[in-house]
Point group: C2
Chain length 337, copies 2
C-alpha cells in the first residue's frame, strides 16, 4: 500500500507509451481524425493500461462544455425533487454528465448565488424545478447563456417545460372507480389556489358528470378527516368512492372512515394522488393512487437539456407526461391488466 498519491497520468504519457504524438493520441481516444486502426487501438490500449482519465477541466476549458448540469429547486422537503433528481441523474450518468443540486428555498438572493456559481462552472444546462407546478422560481433564468428546461414548475412564455398530465391521471382514477361499479364519487382535494387542484378537479368533473362534488380544503390528513365528517354527517346519500387530491388527504379519509366503521374498500373506495410511498403504503389498507412518474419526467428533462446543450432546437411549450394509476388495496379490484 503506497501512501504517495500516484501522479495523474496525462494524455502525454499515453502518447509516449503508444509512441505517437499528443495530437494523435487525442484523436485516437476521441474517435476523430484519421489514422490506421492499428494506431488507434495501440493508443487505446496504452490508455487503458495506464488508467488514463482525461482531465475534465482542461477538456471543458477548450470545448466549452463541462459535462455538468444544474438542478435548481425550491422544494426543500424533496418530496418531488428526489424522484426527479433520480431520473435526471439516470439519464445523464452514462453520458458522463454530473448534476449539481441547488436548493434555493424561495430565497431570490440564494437563488442568484447558486445560478451564478453554476454559470461560472460552465454548466451545460439548467433544469429548474419546484414544489408547485404553477409557480415560477424566484429567479430569472431567461436570456442565460445556457439552455434551461423547466420541470414541474412554471416556465416563462417561450420556455421548454415538462409537467405531469394531471388531468389524464384524474380521468384514469375516476374510470377505475367506475369500472369497479362505483356510482357516487366525490373529490376531496387541496386549496383552489393551486393550479393542479383546478386541473385535477376539472378532469374529475368532466369524467363524473352532473353528480360531481368537489370539496376544497388543505393538503393535510386533518382535512381528510374533516371532509369525511362533512360528508357522512350531512343528510342524503353517502359516497361509495372518494378520489383525493393527494395521498395525505386520502390517508386522513381512510383513517376517518375506519373510525366510523365504514369498510374500505368494501363499502367505499378511496384513491389518492402522488404515490408518496411512505404515506400510500402505510395506510391501512394501502392506497391505490395516481403516480406522476416524476422519475420519467426527470429522465426526459435530462434528455432535453442535453439535446439543447448539443445545439439541437427544441420546440418551446409545455410537454405533458402521462401519470400512472398504482393499484393497491384501497379500492378493491385486482391488479389491472
Amino acid at each position: 500500500m503506497s501512501l504517495v498519491a500516484p501522479k495523474r497520468v496525462r494524455i502525454y504519457d499515453v502518447a509516449q507509451a503508444a509512441g505517437v504524438s499528443v495530437a494523435t493520441a487525442s484523436k485516437a481516444l476521441n474517435d476523430t481524425g484519421r489514422m490506421t486502426d492499428e494506431t488507434r487501438t495501440r493508443v487505446k490500449d496504452a490508455a487503458t493500461r495506464l488508467g488514463f482519465r482525461p482531465n475534465a477541466m482542461a477538456r471543458a476549458l477548450i470545448q466549452k462544455r463541462s459535462f455538468t448540469v444544474g438542478l435548481l429547486t425550491n422544494d426543500t422537503y424533496g418530496r418531488f425533487t428526489l424522484p426527479l433528481m433520480a431520473g435526471v441523474s439516470e439519464a445523464l450518468v452514462d453520458q458522463g454528465v454530473s448534476v449539481f443540486l441547488c436548493a434555493i428555498e424561495d430565497d431570490p438572493a440564494l437563488a442568484k448565488i447558486h445560478v451564478d456559481a453554476m454559470l461560472d462552472k460552465q454548466v451545460d444546462g439548467i433544469i429548474a424545478s419546484g414544489k408547485r407546478i404553477d409557480r415560477q422560481l424566484p429567479v430569472d433564468l431567461e436570456n442565460l447563456s445556457v439552455p434551461v428546461v423547466y420541470a414541474f414548475t412554471q416556465a416563462p412564455a417561450n420556455g421548454v417545460s415538462l409537467v405531469s398530465d394531471d388531468a389524464a391521471g384524474s380521468r384514469e382514477a375516476v374510470e377505475w372507480l367506475k369500472s369497479l361499479g362505483r356510482r357516487r364519487i366525490v373529490h376531496v382535494t387541496g386549496p383552489r389556489s393551486f393550479a393542479s387542484v383546478e386541473e385535477r378537479a376539472g378532469a374529475y368533473r368532466d369524467a363524473v358528470g352532473p353528480t360531481a362534488e368537489v370539496l376544497f380544503g388543505t393538503w393535510s390528513e386533518q382535512w381528510g378527516h374533516e371532509a369525511v365528517a362533512q360528508l357522512w354527517d350531512a343528510a342524503g346519500e353517502t359516497p361509495d368512492a372518494i378520489f383525493c387530491g393527494n395521498d395525505q388527504i386520502a390517508r386522513g379519509v381512510v383513517d376517518a372512515l375506519r373510525e366510523r366503521g365504514v369498510a374500505v374498500p368494501a363499502d367505499v373506495s378511496v384513491v389518492g394522488f402522488d404515490n408518496w410511498e411512505i404515506v400510500a403504503a402505510a395506510t391501512r389498507p394501502p392506497l391505490t393512487t395516481v403516480d406522476m412518474n416524476l422519475k420519467e419526467l426527470g429522465r426526459e428533462a435530462g434528455r432535453l437539456v442535453l439535446a439543447l446543450a448539443a445545439g439541437e432546437t427544441v420546440e418551446p411549450g409545455i410537454r405533458k407526461l402521462p401519470c400512472a394509476l398504482v393499484v393497491r388495496q384501497s379500492c378493491g379490484g385486482g391488479p389491472r391488466s
Copy 2:
C-alpha cells in the same frame, strides 16, 4: 433585447479596461501580489463595471481546485440525505463551492461510475453518506486522491466520520419521560441487526434501569400496532410511556392506543425518533421525537471536507453530534426551558 449571447468577458478585457497587464489584473482581483491600492481598486472597478466572472475551468485547471464537492449516497428515498444535503450546501455555498449529488442505489458499478466522474471533474472532496449508519457504501473510497468525509454511514478504520449521538438522544428522551412522572417506560424499536437499534436500546436500558423492556420488530407502523397489542393483551401492568425507535413505529403505537381507547398523552406518553416531519406532525397528537440534527451534521461535514481539501489535518475517528428532543404533544409537558 439582443439575441446574440454576449461574449464572456475575460480577465484580458478587464486588464485592458484598467490599463494594466493580465498578471496585475489577476493579482488585483485575488488580493495577492504587490501594487498600489489605487491600481487594485481601478482593476476591481473595471471588473465590476464589465461584469467579469472568472472562468472556473481555467482557474481549476491551474489551481487544481474545482470548488466542487461530491455527495455520494445510497439513500434513494432521500429521507436522510436531503437534510444532510441542505446542510452541506448551506455550509459551502458562500465559499463558492457547489455540490454534485450522486445517488448510487447500492449498486457498486453505478457507484464506481459516479466516483470516477467526480474524480475526473476534480472534486475537492467527497462526502459519503448512507441510509444506515452501520453499513459501508458499496464502493471503496480509501486511497482516493481527494479527501473523504463519512456522514451518517460507516467509515473505514482511519476515516473521518460524523454520526448523530443516538445514545444521548435516547437518554434525553427517557429523562424527559421521567421528568413527566412516567415510571413504566417501554422501548419499541426496529430490528436488532441495526447498530442504531442496539445503541438506542442500550442507552435506554442504562437510563431506565432494571424495569427496562425492549421489543424488537421492524421499522413500520404495522409493528407499532402489534407491539401495543402485545403489551396490552399481556397480563400485568401496562406501560405509562413508550419510547419508539422511529417515528413510524411511534405513529403506529399512537394510532393503536387511540383505537383501544387509551389516551395519549393523558394515560400514556409516546416519544418517537427521527423527527420525520411528515410522520411526526401528522400523528394525532403530533409526536414528541428525537431529532438527529442532520442538517447540522451536513454543515459540519461540509466544513470538514473543505478543511481537509485545504490541507489541514483532521484527526480521524468518529465525531458524534448531539440530537435534540423536539417537544410536541404526544407526551404532555410544555415546551422545555
